[in-house]
Amino acid sequence: MATATKMRFGIVIFPGSNCETDAWHALNDVMGAPVEYVWHQETDVGKYDCVILPGGFSYGDYLRTGAIARFSPVMNALIDFADKGGLVLGICNGFQILLEAGLLPGAMMRNVGQTFVCQYVDLRVENTNTPFTRAMEQGSILRIPIAHGEGSYYADEQTLEELKHNDQVVLRYCTEHGESTPDANPNGSLENIAGICNRERNVMGLMPHPERCSDPILGSDDGRQVWESLLRGK
């Protein structure tokens, strides 16, 4: 079993990924954690404890965002890996790919405002009982930026009920006072959902970018709490 100091990260690169170096910097330079890049043709990710699918425009978002990436060889490896309890974190495009691959339930739609949106948002921590959020305080507010054109999370009624019943909603958009209102929602996602996990809690997807605010010089370092949670080990 991996201990915190030996938790090994892998960051997958698809053609078109563009946030992999940001994630690498946050983990390697800011947090001092061992990280490697994983080319999308890789067929085995067993040597890592946590695999990250970074943001970007894999395959140019052709067809549907994430639709092509999910057929890459690495995704089969990832499904295996997750099955065996490996940790998987999908950020933005990474979240979209996890949805397309069926590792998380639901789908992603175009932002309700029809344009790409890049801005800081406030997020309420709904569930600290996951490896990705265990260092956070339940109900606390994180300031983390988003940058996406298709971040409106959707799930059918039944799926939504299951998500809530099983405590799988991890982060919600909220006001600076912590109220989850339509005004606080930048993309129209269902119930202001910004991040979810699977039932087993070893796979998480979120639209906001914690790797973009892990260093105070960039305006907020609330993103660190995600890495700190992971680095606590199991």
């Binding site: 078109g16 563009n18 910097h25 970007g56």
Partner: protein, 739 residues
């Protein structure tokens, strides 16, 4: 096929130019050769009309420069061994025709100019100009251009960190879409575009070649827009995903050491790259067109040579490393095909299925004629220079004037735009679009930082091209020192009308002269640039609009500053002085409906002293905020400081200014002025330092409360709730765009 006059006229060549071709090659050209000359010698590729004047620009300055003459982008050393390369380009005509793709491919093109030199692209800026925003055409173009830039830049993962918005009647029929890109590279790893080494393979990489944009850059950018002309087929289509893969593959290939020379295919595509790489390398090339990957069947040789299909590069590899280099591109899913080889006879030989369709000396092809065009001072110039501004009445309600200025799209919040741009990717953006006078980028692992801004002012340049150009340069530099960056280098994008009209060329000549003298005064090299002529319709020419991109260096990126007031009880200090400067102002245009007068007078020595003082204050951590006065003058600048700070201020204008008109004091656009807020102890230090340096300095008042109150001559012409000003400023553009 016999060559007829009709053919060279249709290609945009004059009879004199055709004669020159005959003289150069000593025989009649083949049709393919004729097409090659026509694009390589066009204004957009060859710069025949602007080259003599562009030589006036200084190439050296305070900071060491990098890149070589004739290469795609130059730059400056920002830290020991580290160079930032930068360039600005225009995509005006294509954007007027097809705003989304015109702007998107503009981004693609300028980014290629950066990574072709081995630099990783780190930022984009977009200074944009359209007609008045209450008109449907301007709204359509604006929406399309911004979407296009977002589409391309966001997908590439290059943050768009700054830009400019200007809306003037003058740009109605000719929008100006200028895009600047920056890249970072180790100074000793800057790649070249020279083709050398006989026998080395010549390789086409990237997208396949189609008929897009054939003659586009050359034809669109070398002539005015006529009435009702349908130019849509000549606008190229952008594919940012392929370009992203190209960036990675090219940088990997360059790092492998197997690449001899690399050049991007932009205007005049394959013709330009084969000819210029050969000429620059003092070698030749033998190229087989049928090997070039096509996306359409039945293309003629001249079509393949003139195509402007995007996302293609031409590469010369070391012969022994050919397979290795090709494998890198294929790994990234890109076409990579050997189409020929470098030769040592200096000739560019083009074959199609075995038949030689063109064979010319590369250097001759790459040597367009140079024209010294006549200039003539235009009639309007005397009029505007002698306009009597004292005849304009002073408004009663200054608060109303201020609110109106804040609602002007030239001044209002540009958040509607930059929210659509990923301005954070690459996690280097320390000061993002909006809160600072310039963008600030960190360099990971280094203490130094990069400041960058773009600026232009068509009105000032129209009223006085020489002074106007210098005012633009002064403002760009002033914006940089406000964030704590020392101006280091300039790239220019010169947008003008038809140079064959002497009054337009006069504007061009005077702007270039003003810029050259200004750069020398500021000790700034012009490292790269672009000229866009023929921004004209039968109705009007655009204002002469040189747009500058200026890059500055922060010694310590941790010592940067933004524009908003931050703390109640901080003291508000003004560096600089105010004069009677209403000519060409936003206020004169909005309140009195005219663009006339001399632009504000510029004292370069005072400007430099004010900037130096501000930079010292920010570097020493004395300034809590710094913001320069520009459009809308002092009152607007103070309002902006309050808006960004979410706090009010109470200021009193100096008695020394009481000989000036009250509207000049509030809304005049005297240059060389910076508003600084600081704790009272720091403000005292700043005042002391300023006086010692001979920099005019005034303590205006304090930060605090929820109102902006400006006292003048014992009265209070402005007392506005900051919340209200913020709403007006923030909603101006969104409400126009939601119609």
């Amino acid at each position: 096929m016999a060559i007829e006059a009709r053919m060279w006229h249709e290609l945009g060549l004059s009879d004199e130019e055709y004669q020159r071709i005959l003289d150069t090659i000593g025989r009649e050209p083949t049709p393919t050769e004729l097409a090659m000359f026509s694009v390589e010698w066009s204004e957009h590729c060859g710069y025949p009309r602007s080259r003599p004047l562009l030589r006036l620009f200084p190439k050296t300055g305070k900071y060491a420069t990098a890149g070589r003459d004739g290469e795609d982008a130059g730059g400056i050393e920002v830290a020991p061994g580290l160079t930032v390369l930068f360039k600005m380009e225009s995509h005006n005509h294509p954007s007027q025709v097809e705003p989304f793709q015109g702007a998107a491919t503009g981004v693609g093109g300028i980014i290629r100019d950066i990574f072709t030199m081995g630099a990783r692209p780190i930022a984009v800026l977009d200074p944009l100009r359209f007609g008045e925003l209450d008109e449907p055409l301007a709204q359509y173009l604006f929406r399309g251009v911004v979407s296009g830039i977002a589409f391309y830049g966001n997908c590439l993962g290059v943050p768009t960190v700054g830009g400019e918005l200007r809306f003037e009647e003058s740009y109605k029929g000719n929008c100006l879409v200028n895009v600047m890109a920056l890249g970072l590279v180790e100074s000793d790893k800057i790649a070249t575009s020279r083709a050398v080494g006989a026998g080395n393979p010549v390789i086409v990489v990237g997208n396949s070649t189609g008929r897009d944009g054939i003659g586009g850059a050359s034809i669109l950018a070398s002539h005015e827009f006529g009435e009702g002309e349908e130019k849509r087929p000549t606008v190229q289509i952008g594919d940012p995903f392929t370009e992203k893969c190209l960036i990675e593959a090219c940088l990997e290939a360059l790092a492998s050491g197997g690449v001899v020379g690399l050049k991007d295919m932009g205007a005049a595509g394959l013709t330009c790259t084969t000819c210029e790489m050969s000429a620059f390398g003092e070698h030749g090339m033998d190229v087989e067109l049928q090997k070039v990957p096509r996306r359409e069947p039945g293309m003629e040789p001249w079509e393949v040579l003139m195509s402007e299909s995007q996302e293609r590069m031409l590469l010369v590899a070391e012969k022994e490393r050919e397979d290795e280099v090709l494998a890198i591109f294929r790994k990234w899913g890109l076409n990579a095909v050997v189409v020929g080889q470098v030769t040592d006879d200096g000739l560019l030989r083009v074959r199609d299925d075995g038949e030689v369709v063109a064979e010319v000396e590369a250097k001759a092809l790459a040597s367009p004629p140079v024209y010294e065009l006549p200039t003539e001072e235009p009639a309007y110039y005397r009029e505007v220079q002698s306009a009597d501004l004292s005849s304009f009445s002073v408004p009663e309600d200054m608060g109303a004037v201020l609110r109106d200025l804040l609602s002007s799209p030239n001044i209002a919040s540009a958040e509607w735009v930059y929210r659509q741009y990923d301005h954070m990717v690459q996690t280097n953006t320390v000061v993002a679009p909006g809160p600072g006078d310039a963008a600030v980028l960190q360099i990971k692992g280094r203490r130094e930082g990069i400041g960058v801004t773009t600026d232009g002012n068509g009105r000032y340049c129209y009223l006085d091209p020489y002074v106007g150009a210098q005012l633009v340069l002064a403002e760009a530099c002033r914006n940089l020192v406000c964030v704590g960056a020392d101006p280091a280098g300039v790239t220019d994008c010169l947008n003008f009308g038809n140079p064959e009209k002497p009054d337009r060329f006069w504007q061009f000549k005077r702007c270039v002269e003003g810029l050259a003298d200004g750069c020398r005064s500021f000790q700034l090299p012009v490292v790269s640039g672009n000229v866009s002529f023929y921004n004209e319709t039968p109705d009007t020419a655009v204002y002469p609009t040189p747009v500058l991109g200026v890059v500055g260096v922060l010694k310590d990126v941790g010592h940067h500053c933004t524009s908003g007031f931050k703390k109640a009880d901080d003291v508000v200090v003004l560096l600089g002085n105010t004069d009677e400067d209403l000519g060409g102002t936003e206020y004169l245009k909005r309140t009195h409906g005219v663009v006339t007068g001399k632009p504000p007078a510029l004292d370069l020595e005072r400007e430099k002293r004010v900037q130096s003082m501000c930079l010292a204050a920010v570097e020493q951590g004395l300034a809590t905020s710094a913001h320069d006065c520009s459009d809308g003058g002092l009152a607007v600048a103070l309002a902006e400081c309050c808006i960004w700070g979410g706090v009010g201020a109470h200021v009193r204008l100096p008695d020394e200014w009481s000989h000036l008109r009250i509207d000049s004091r509030l809304f005049g656009e005297s240059p060389s002025r910076i508003i600084i807020s600081a704790s009272s102890a720091n403000a005292a230090k700043i005042e002391q330092m300023a006086k010692a340096e001979g920099v005019p300095v005034y303590v205006l008042g304090e930060v605090g409360g929820e109102t902006l109150t400006i006292e003048v001559d014992g009265e209070v012409p402005i007392s506005e709730a900051v919340g209200n000003l913020t709403d007006i400023w923030r909603d101006a553009i969104p409400s126009l765009m939601s119609q």
